[in-house]
């Protein structure tokens, strides 16, 4: 399936991109699979998405957890813990 990926704040700067469109292999079904897939890129991706890092994921603009399923055309955002208010 194809998804639209967004990055915000510190992670947008670390990944040096705010957006990418990604076609995922069939084995990737949920958020955990996606994070592992991105982490496999190595370098900053492996560092920032490591198990000891704190980050948030939203699917279709709702906060998600690792078990949240992905679907064709999903908008998936990865960002640091929020600091508004």
């Amino acid at each position: 399936m194809q998804i639209n990926l967004l990055y915000f704040a510190r992670l947008r700067e670390a990944f040096q991109t705010g957006q990418e469109t990604l076609t995922l292999p069939d084995s990737i079904q949920n958020v955990a699979d996606l994070v592992a897939h991105l982490s496999a890129r190595g370098g900053i991706w492996a560092n920032e998405l490591a198990a000891n890092q704190v980050f948030r994921v939203a699917v279709d603009q709702d906060l998600a957890d690792f078990s949240t399923p992905l679907h064709e055309g999903a908008e998936v955002a990865i960002f640091p813990p929020v600091t508004g208010g």
């Binding site: 704190v54 955002a77 813990p81 929020v82 600091t83």
Partner: protein, 170 residues
């Protein structure tokens, strides 16, 4: 419990400043059954910032921001008997002393307005996709999230389920 039409929710994400007195007047004049109006205003403070910080920049996730604030306000109107909720969150560049956020909660009774307001701020701080960056002469740095905010939001799950089997708790 009031019908949803009696609990107007209004959300704004904007670069412009806002007028607290006018916001409160607009809400209170809309419904004379409102007896209690609680407002929270968050300001950019000096102490929060190192001496060399010139300004704060607020980044957000357009689309999700509005959706998250709407969700938070709706949750509050489901848990407490409210007559209205108004949330304004600013984005862009802000200097010390400037207003960042306003939450207004209106109800017939004060305890519902107080608790709903606290609840909204606790959730906003952990669920609404805003990020603060401090600008200094040496360059920018991202503000780190506070662990306190996450535990404050988590506490509501427990408090609300323990104390409020119904919404009549003035």
């Amino acid at each position: 419990m009031d019908t949803l039409s009696l609990q107007p929710i209004s959300i704004s994400v904007q670069t412009a400043d806002f007028d607290l007195g006018q916001e409160v007047d607009t809400l209170s004049q809309s419904d004379h059954s409102i007896g209690a109006l609680v407002s929270f205003v968050g300001l950019v403070r000096d102490l929060n910032l190192a001496a060399d910080v010139v300004s704060l920049e607020l980044e957000h996730y357009p689309g999700m921001t509005e959706k998250a604030l709407q969700y938070i306000a709706q949750e509050a109107t489901l848990r407490w008997s409210l007559k209205g909720v108004r949330i304004i969150h600013r984005i862009g560049n802000l200097r010390p002393g400037e207003r960042i956020v306003m939450v207004l909660t209106a109800g017939a009774h004060r305890h519902a307005a107080y608790e709903a307001n606290t609840f909204i701020m606790d959730y906003l701080k952990t669920r609404a996709p805003f990020w603060k960056k401090e600008w200094t002469p040496e360059g920018p740095r991202w503000v780190a999230a506070r662990e306190n905010d996450a535990s404050a939001a988590a506490r509501w799950h427990q408090i609300v389920s323990e104390r409020y089997g119904n919404d009549d708790h003035d």
